[in-house]
Symmetry: C2
Subunit: 315 residues, 2 copies
């Protein structure tokens, strides 16, 4: 009886140390070591399954200072040690959010220093002439787009710009399985088939100026990414952004967490389902080609790129 | 001020009678008369948009006795009056559920009599040799399929059988927008792309024995179908089935109701999104052809049709 109890409390991978985490969708019960090993090995498998990197890629990791991007930076600095001709660099975007972004920047930089990884900081102020604070305060009262929608457009352009600046071959973002599945459902709820057809774990290159984006965390639950940071004693910012305002995404998040709790594996199934149908959706939408923005020369689907169009509206 | 108050309380369609129902996704505020007119006219539009009927169709309406099927029967008996060469007949399936189905059957029959519509009753007992009660009690303990999954297979076969028996050209089912969207999300959560690709408001005819199924309520909210029955003083059964057991569907239902309340129009957007991508999904899955069941001769995708396969397991 006592033996049985002790046995039940032993890690199902090493059978040595006591259980720290029970993975409900697989039935595994893991100790701290085997848990973090499992995350690292899953990231490696994801990278190889989707052929995310070439052996000599210069890889730019977009690091915000939050748990996901910092955890991923730590994992990549470990796994890429076996790829001597590949190199890592961190891209840190300073959106300009007073009393919030400074801490995240400091955390991002200190993690880079600890891991001896070079970094490049690009600020909204330098790139667009305005901080996010200024952009948000200048928005008209009739502006329907949320702060997150504004920030997202400017951040995506800044990341691509920074990655070109450092001659990167790939951009890594730390989108988790949760982010991916939330976005999938949001696109369905918004009826946005074009976006549903994009968002693959490795992006299509639709313009020579776009650097390919890959998502090595796309099959990692957000919960497990946070736990990895905790187990590895990694420093990250955990205050939420003061502009965070996506009501619908928050509802979808709660709903998916509830479904995952009651029906373990739901998030992964949704991810797999859309992965299977994405190629046909992509073919359906392929007509959307990219030209050059008439203002900044960056890729644009119409005359102006989205960032320049938004800046025009604000300025 | 008082004038304003009275004006605000007047139906936005007729401007005469006081408001009974506010339709949040469209902003309409309708009196009882205009509300029920709007449902009838929406059903007519749906029928014509999807080209559900030919002018001389013999239409078999599957009537369970619940609010949706009874409301739809009333609406069709009204709208089909303009189609003198078309005819209506009700199909009533007696699954054999003691202390539950008797009441529903009586209600279904009394509605048919009131509307002077012929009906045909087909029972599980006659068709399969077993009532649903008997089928459920004989299931093995290891049976993973829910009662609803069992009943669904037998009921679909019974409806198609009954429709052939009365020489119907079309089968009408009263699936509402809620049913459709719940099924869409369930198929995504189950990763079932084949089912996602089917379920169009008018079914594909994949075998000569299958009678085409159409869903004139596919764009009507369940809530409005219930309200229609209430306004029109239609008798229906409102006790839930004692076997009702679809935990996941209930979760999806609550979640969608919550989303619809917070973001009016969500259900319709999901419906439209999947409608747009269904044709490409269908092409992807077209290889699934139908042969004949080696036991009963009805359509089957493998050797036995699903109903015969389930009966074999039970008997």
């Amino acid at each position: 009886m006592v033996k049985e109890l002790i046995k039940n409390n032993l890690c199902s991978a090493c059978n040595l140390r006591s259980v720290f985490f029970a993975r409900s969708y697989s039935g595994e019960k893991l100790c701290k070591n085997c848990f973090s090993d499992s995350i690292e090995s899953k990231v490696k498998k994801t990278i190889s399954k989707y052929k995310m990197f070439k052996f000599d890629d210069k890889i730019a990791v977009a690091v915000s200072g939050g748990k996901d991007s910092v955890s991923l930076l730590h994992i990549l600095s470990k796994t890429q040690k076996n790829q001597p001709r590949s190199s890592l660099i961190a891209i840190i975007i300073d959106e300009g959010i007073q009393n919030y972004r400074e801490e995240a920047l400091e955390i991002a930089v200190s993690n880079c220093n600890k891991l001896k990884i070079d970094y490049k900081i690009v600020s909204f102020k330098n790139l667009y002439g305005l901080t996010l604070d200024e952009i948000i305060s200048r928005r008209g009262e009739n502006e329907k787009k949320s702060s997150c929608a504004f920030c997202g457009v400017f951040r995506r352009k800044a990341i691509n710009y920074a990655a070109r600046l450092v001659n990167a071959d790939k951009i890594v973002t730390a989108h988790t399985l949760d982010d991916e599945v939330q976005t999938i459902l949001l696109n369905i709820f918004h009826g946005d088939i074009t976006r549903l057809s994009k968002g693959s774990p490795i992006s299509e290159i639709v313009h020579p100026c776009f650097i390919q984006k890959v998502k090595p965390f796309c099959e990692i639950l957000e919960r497990e990414s946070a736990l990895y940071a905790y187990v590895k004693n990694i420093k990250f910012q955990d205050t939420p952004c003061p502009y965070s305002s996506e009501a619908l995404r928050n509802d979808v998040r709660s709903m998916l967490n509830y479904m995952e709790e009651k029906h373990a594996g739901t998030k992964f199934t949704v991810f797999q389902t859309i992965k299977k149908i994405r190629p046909v959706l992509y073919q359906l939408n392929k007509k959307n080609s990219f030209g050059d923005c008439s203002n900044c020369g960056e890729p644009a689907s119409l005359g102006l790129c989205k960032a320049c169009e938004m800046l025009n509206r604000i300025k």
